[in-house]
């Protein structure tokens, strides 16, 4: 775990934040937590479409599992009500367990897929479940010159200015 964190730290130190893009929520199924699987144009060339969509779909699957209404959730709800909700002091809810799973999954995805491509996913729970924030980094030593050129021209007009200043 320490070496993996070390890699992400290196990413932050050696690369500079170019821009952030936000994957918004998809409300077509109601109020359950789902994110849009539409491929953002800014990621074109940085990551394969299929990998990206797979990540988002897996995340959507996790959230659907967390909010699933069925036998086990009813049981948990009834038990909680019977104990006047004091049981939540001792026990983690099913939703919280799934959120932990999601954090682990995102960390793993960052390590394996996104960080090597200069990208970083932020856990939606840290953004109030509104968006999946993807930070796009550029190498300071500008080894990936063509992609950095296109992205840095985009970063001039992007909202990453604030984030970029913060990281410098």
């Amino acid at each position: 775990m320490a070496t993996e964190v070390h890699n992400l730290q290196e990413l932050r130190r050696s690369a500079s934040l170019a821009t952030k893009i936000f994957i918004q929520r998809d409300y077509s199924d109601g109020t359950i937590c789902q994110f849009q699987t539409k491929f953002p144009p800014e990621l074109d060339g940085r990551i394969e479409r299929q990998l990206f969509e797979e990540t988002i779909k897996t995340l959507n699957g996790f959230y659907a599992e967390a909010e699933k209404i069925g036998g086990s959730s009813y049981l948990e709800g009834c038990l909680a009500c019977a104990t006047a909700y004091f049981i939540f002091l001792c026990m983690e809810t099913h939703y919280e367990k799934v959120l932990k799973k999601i954090s682990r999954y995102i960390l793993e995805q960052n390590e394996k897929i996104f960080a090597p491509r200069g990208l970083l996913l932020t856990d939606p729970v840290e953004r109030g479940m509104r968006v999946i924030e993807i930070s796009i980094y550029e190498d300071r030593c500008s080894s990936g010159s063509s992609s950095s050129g296109s992205s840095s021209s985009g970063s001039g007009s992007s909202s990453g200015g604030g984030g970029g200043a913060g990281s410098r």
């Binding site: 409300y27 109601g30 009813y74 006047a84």
Partner: protein
Amino acid sequence: MSPGGGGGPMGDCEYSQIGTHSPSPMEAPPAEKKRVRARRKWEVFPGRNQFFCDGRIMMAQQRGVFYLTLVLILVTSGLFFAFDCPYLAVRITPAVPAAGAVLFFFVMGTLLRTSFSDPGVLPRATPDEAADLERQIDIANGSSSGGYRSPPRTKEVIINGQTVKLKYCFTCKIFRPPRASHCSLCDNCVERFDHHCPWVGNCVGKRNYRFFYMFILSLSFLTVFIFAFVITHVILRSQQTGFLNAIKDSPARYPFVLEAVVCFFSVWSIVGLLGFHTYLISSNQTTNEDIKGSWSNKRGKENYNPYSYGNIFTNCCVALCGPVSPSLIDRRGYVQPDTPQPAAPSNGLATYGATASQSDMCDQDQCIQSTKFVLQAAATPLLQSEPSLASDELHLPGKPGLGTPCASLTLGQPTPPSSMPNLAAEAGLTDILPLKEEHVGHQFLTPEEAPSPPRLLAGSPLAHSRTAHVLGLASQDALHEDSVRGLVKLSSV
């Protein structure tokens, strides 16, 4: 920086960082480490909530009515246990006080749970997100012609075949999820917003609706229970000693009357409320939606509730026993020094009763603008917009703020749209602030009320600080807003 991959060690390093731009946390000099203490997120929370027990407890700002609720329940139950239970335990069965005690604890537990928990507050957008959204909105609205003000920022989405409009919240800088609403009392967007209940001193939303329902359910039972057994007590005593003697001589005569009166009046209101919420739960609607008639058949034959699961049983089960989502605002987490906090334009102005929900300007600009407009505003009848209590629908022209059943804080009923003098005066002001047509939600004060702002403000709904919910963000709106606010600021000095 994105904290997504940061583990424990990274987090600890960042505590000592003092918001410098250096990416390396080790560069912070040791001397400064001691001066800066890590703050918890509740201390910098932008909404108008109060936190206790180091962020564990979260309530609205006005809690007076909540204390009244507590006192009523505690006193009535206390009198019942002190005066009626000894007699009834002996005369009927000890199960009576036992059942009473169980009910009482359930009532208190659910009440405290409703009052102290996070109703489902949506955290405000980070500056990056807000800027990104603004850009997208500008792109979407870019084609509108100069003279015509573009319509309010909305997004349409189709849910289960029904078209639902998502509105943009100017305070929180997000598009509100379906069923979410902005509570002007607490200045937060709340998921599945039901209503703001002064009796529990908190909003009722997605996360605490079931506790609220359980509270009114158990309170109904408790009220009926106490009322029934107080009457039983009186009857039994009067069988022994005659009715008048029972009332006159018994040490419990004042408690009898007090309990009976309190319970009698409570029963009607609480049982009525319980019935209403049972209907809401079974049709999977919120109080907000029911009041607005969002899914009522009167709006059209094709109008139906897209969130309903079809049958009453499922709707009830989901509302009461469904999964509980965790709090999104992480009140006890630590503030990362280099993480930009969400823009909180209302911070400095919250106490003055008008949030800067519509203004994109920073506080300094508002001060400058408001100073400019003070003299102008003072010379003309004060225009104050009276918005709806819990948000959205100002396209109903002239309709006063919709009060929710529980919200008893309607101190200032919005005065109806004005007579001619005000319009003439407003025309004068329009030379300075060209107000546009869609300010239909504005309520104009009569000339008698206008000239004395301090008195007006003392009596106004300042106490529950309504958000000026002007749709169609225009800089002129913001300036108009500021003139009011500027006047408010000066008068409160």
